[in-house]
């Protein structure tokens, strides 16, 4: 093997190793091992109200949010997209044991991502934790009904990031 052949093989080795490293990095940032919404899509149905008052609010605590311990102190932010939103929806994390839950966040179409859980520790031996997502839907009589206004369909996104 001459010099040129050996350098070409060395080059190929570098490229292969770089590719493998990038694949390993990408796997480390995949959904599993970072943050995950559990128990799928949710629906809240407002069906009653009080004459002279408001519609009766509805609460849903089925969904959970699982997040993993990372190398740096982290936080979770939340945002939503709901074009043509008519009614009100808020969310708060309950049962938080790793980090500090923010007060209930009003989910408004087009909002910037806001803090949802902060000060998630990087120290310790814990691997992941799964607090509950408590959604509250409310409406006024003046906001109408789904037959006339349509349903509100929110795409709620949670992001785990360095604090």
């Amino acid at each position: 093997m001459n010099h040129r052949q050996s350098m070409n093989r060395l080059t190929a080795l570098f490229v292969g190793a770089a590719f493998l490293l990038i694949v390993v990095h990408s796997t480390g940032t995949a959904q599993v091992g970072t943050i995950q919404v559990r128990n799928g899509d949710q629906t809240l149905n407002i069906v009653a109200g009080t004459a002279g008052g408001s519609m009766t609010s509805v609460v849903n605590t089925t969904a959970q949010l699982r997040y993993w311990r990372k190398a740096a102190i982290a936080k979770v932010t939340v945002t939503t997209s709901c074009p043509g939103q008519s009614f009100s929806l808020s969310v708060v994390a309950t049962g938080v044991t790793r980090g500090v839950a923010a007060p209930a966040v009003n989910l408004v179409n087009g909002m910037l991502a806001v803090d949802f859980i902060t000060s998630i520790p990087s120290a310790g031996t814990w691997t992941s934790t799964t607090p509950t997502l408590r959604y509250t839907a409310s409406a006024t009589f003046a906001q109408g009904n789904s037959a006339e206004m349509g349903n509100d369909v929110h795409t709620v996104t949670y992001t785990l990031q360095v604090q």
Partner: protein, 177 residues
């Protein structure tokens, strides 16, 4: 003609085609936390539905009007009126353009009972109506809203009709306008 001296390449020198992969390799070694602040995201859909709810409620279950001696004028057959404004009507409509009608279940009352919507917080009060078994407008032009008004009952009697008691069941109904 003299030729420019050429430099001999050392075995360890990199050519241009080898520089890029090496740089690629070095960049891949940079810790993720330095390059990206975000570890990951997850999302789901949350749907809010609101049923059609159009409701009315009277604040008191029982109203009484008594026509007595104080309501009589000698030589005049018509006695009264006696009024009662102690009751309110509350409503909540999440459908557009609704009205409230009112009727009684008493087909042949002995005395006259009228009803009027007073100072509604939303919509337009209809003129005072004499209650019958046929529904009549009580409050109109009410859009999606939650509100209240005073219900004023007015009772009159003819002295020639004698004495007695009329017991009405008054029904307020939400209807599309």
């Amino acid at each position: 003609m003299a030729h420019a001296p050429t430099r001999s390449r050392k075995p360890t020198d990199l050519n241009k085609g080898q520089i890029l992969p090496v740089l690629f390799f070095i960049l891949a070694l940079i810790p993720q936390g330095v390059v990206a602040q975000v570890y990951g995201s997850s999302f789901h859909n949350v749907t809010v539905t609101v049923a059609t709810v159009n409701i009315v409620q009277a604040s008191a279950a029982v109203v009484s009007l008594t026509i007595g001696p104080a309501d009589v004028t000698a030589g005049v057959d018509l006695m009264g009126p006696v009024t009662n404004s102690a009751t309110s009507l509350l409503w909540g409509f999440n459908s557009s353009l609704r009205k409230v009608t009112v009727r009684t279940n008493l087909a042949a009352p002995k005395f006259i009972l009228k009803v009027l919507c007073v100072t509604p917080s939303q919509g337009t009060a209809s003129p005072e109506v004499t209650l019958s078994t046929t529904a009549a407008d009580f409050l109109i032009n009410t859009g999606r809203s939650s509100g209240t008004c005073t219900i004023r009952y007015s009772g009159t009697a003819l002295a020639s009709a004698g004495t007695g008691t009329d017991s009405h069941t008054i029904t307020f109904t939400v209807a599309a306008q």
